[in-house]
Symmetry: C2
């Protein structure tokens, strides 16, 4: 797999959700490798899509604003794309519990529309789906490998799991090559930090940036693993170039396991700002809490040679530096965290 | 649990998909127990819905024709129902692969609509969801218990799995009591036998009735278990009256494990009609074949005292007798199986 970078030179690829956090970092990487990059994004308000995420890249990627729920549009756009990184999705657990129908549309109907477009109009393409560790729910054992039951604790997790399974079935039955990466908590530059409905890590970073109080529920002993976004992009690239993993879901997790308490301490120390406060678990959060989680990525590592390369201390430092330089593109003027 | 029958006397219940195969048999049983039965069914053409399924029952149940995808309608209908047997669904694997979007609508959107109606308008109800052993896909080991991975081989299985998980999340997070029964191959009177897109057992029965050739793929050594529809209805009744299983998926399978070959032999002997022919696996069927399957229902049996009571030989005899008496209501005039 040392040549997976070469694989992308002049290769026509598509990134759905390419204006979002992971998608835009992946687009930068692909542009650097000389790929022919088509970004498809619906620019849904309050999602992670942000035009500034591709600033400076405008002449090296093509942007097509479109919603992947639109079958006719996707039928056309997929035609000549040899690798499709399918990152479009609704990622807010909270929104999914308020409005499950919209979550279903974005995380299930849209995936079927994209896969049908590939089946009918470009069956030789390869699709890499960005799944999430969230679909496992509360673990029975640690670390969590791919033999662990999938038992989501919220609607978003259920729909993401269905989206993943569609890809595997289209691979197995219709021959549209596809695999799915179950990404653990990804963090880094270009993540949405303007509200707190898309996971806690971006929001903690925002609070530290603004020298605000960071609330930890309970004693903060629950453990997580994290992947810096450049490492996540590298995992996606390797997956796109590796056919032995087609038809499989694979964990992509970090090799540092850290408690919320230690994470926040490290973040505050790195930022030189922010304060911690321990608070009682709110009832409705407690119900969907999953305790400790970290994943075993052995299967993916052995298949592709991937390893996380950016340690948490370094990753947080880079992330804070990025937002300090580009704050105005990620936080609205005068806005304060609540 | 000896009093679960008494539990239903005068109790307001709803059966979605109540004109279908399992739903109508359940409706008969509930009417016999003195329940206040509301059947909700959309009478979707080519589904199992059949008005003859409730013949003779018209004065003892109420029928409301409606589609459970209609939120406003369901908001009203669920209001006073104390137990909801949620059996509405698209059950054809084949149709789901031809038209995945419709399968998504019927098996996912509709379940969310029903559950949202309960959450908003009748949060104290109890919902029993009819899931299927099909969601397991190809087993890693036999018998299959609930710790086995869920790994569907087709779109219908994926959407049914999501439908199940919605129920468990609504139980765990919103307090709408719910459980899910993963039913194995159910057979018996009132099953759709006019086309072959809803599972093989009904179709084999139809072919035997018509003294036609029954095709077995390969050598017919793959094993299945079966549940007679009266036993399936009894399982649903017990589930509706048992709160200790809320939040859980539970297998409901048969205790006879029989190869396709032996099943067809038994069927032909019982019918005194039909012939068997062994044929090569069609390529597209082979791709989604799951090999042998039978399930372990210990968890459900211990929680509710349920046991299958009708053995296969007896069940097939009753089923054949039913269709011979009522053939014209299940097979169109002059139609021959193909």
């Amino acid at each position: 797999m040392s040549d997976y970078r070469e694989f992308y030179r002049n290769r026509p690829v598509m990134i759905t959700g390419g204006l979002g956090f992971i998608g835009s970092n992946l687009a930068r990487r692909l542009a650097g490798l000389g790929a022919d990059v088509l970004i498809v994004d619906a620019l849904i308000p309050d999602s992670g899509a942000n035009l500034f995420n591709i600033a400076g890249l405008e002449n090296r990627v093509r942007l097509n604003v479109a919603d992947i729920r639109q079958g006719g549009t996707m039928d056309y756009l997929v035609r000549d794309r040899e690798v499709i990184f399918n990152l479009a999705g609704q990622v807010s657990h909270i929104d999914s519990m308020r409005d499950p129908g919209t979550d279903l549309d974005i995380n299930c109907r849209s995936q079927l529309t994209l896969l049908e477009a590939c089946r009918r109009h470009n069956p030789s393409t390869k699709v890499v789906y960005a799944s999430t560790r969230q679909i496992y729910g509360r673990p029975d054992r640690l670390p969590v490998d791919e033999e662990h039951l999938v038992r989501p604790t919220d609607i978003n997790g259920i729909n993401k799991a269905a989206g993943e399974q569609y890809h595997l079935v289209y691979n197995n039955v219709f021959g549209v090559r596809a695999c799915s990466l179950r990404l653990t908590n990804v963090y880094g530059p270009r993540q949405l930090i303007k509200h707190n409905r898309q996971g806690f890590i971006g929001w903690f970073i925002r609070l530290a940036l603004d020298d605000q109080e960071i609330h930890i529920f309970g004693d903060g002993s629950q453990i997580r693993d994290f992947v810096y976004v450049d490492d996540a992009a590298d995992a996606l690239l390797r997956a796109g170039a590796t056919d032995t993993i087609n038809g499989h879901p694979l964990n992509v997790g970090g090799d540092e396991h850290i408690s919320h308490r230690d994470l926040v301490e490290l973040l505050i120390a790195t930022a030189g700002a922010g304060h911690v406060r321990y608070v009682e678990w709110p009832e409705e959060k407690k119900k969907i809490d999953i305790g400790s989680f970290y994943s075993d990525s052995t299967r993916f590592q052995e298949a592709t040679g991937w390893r996380p390369t950016v340690q948490l201390a370094e990753g947080l430092a880079r992330t804070l530096a990025f937002y300090r330089e580009h704050r105005e593109h990620y936080v609205e003027d005068g806005e304060t965290p609540t």
